[in-house]
Point group: C2
Chain length 79, copies 2
Amino acid sequence: MKARVFVTLKNGVLDPQGEAVKHALGTLGFDGVNTVRQGKMIEIDLAHTDVAKAEADVTEMCEKLLANTVIENYSVEIG
Amino acid sequence: MKARVFVTLKNGVLDPQGEAVKHALGTLGFDGVNTVRQGKMIEIDLAHTDVAKAEADVTEMCEKLLANTVIENYSVEIG
């Protein structure tokens, strides 16, 4: 079973990577880019076949390792 | 208009970050993790309101800057 985790910086947390991408896009001639925020996507292939258990496990993985919940939000997609 | 870009390593390309996460999950006691692959998610807020133009622009951004198409795949979600 596949799970996808999206980890993004919370609103108000500075995102220098995103700012750098925004600046680079402007340099390349792309107009009309208001903001860019960069986050992480983590694809996990699990041996479980139980959706509920997979979701609980992946949420625990986020809390313990994948996201820094002080400055980051996460969301989990199963399947 | 919001666009989300997902950049992932192509199959067969080594992903040391993903391997490190997998190892760390094992250390924390999570069993049944077959593989972990780590990618990037880039959220772009565009001034356009035209979906077709936004999609074309963001695809061009991926080709020119956001993804290294030799080793990475990308997908674009608009809206």
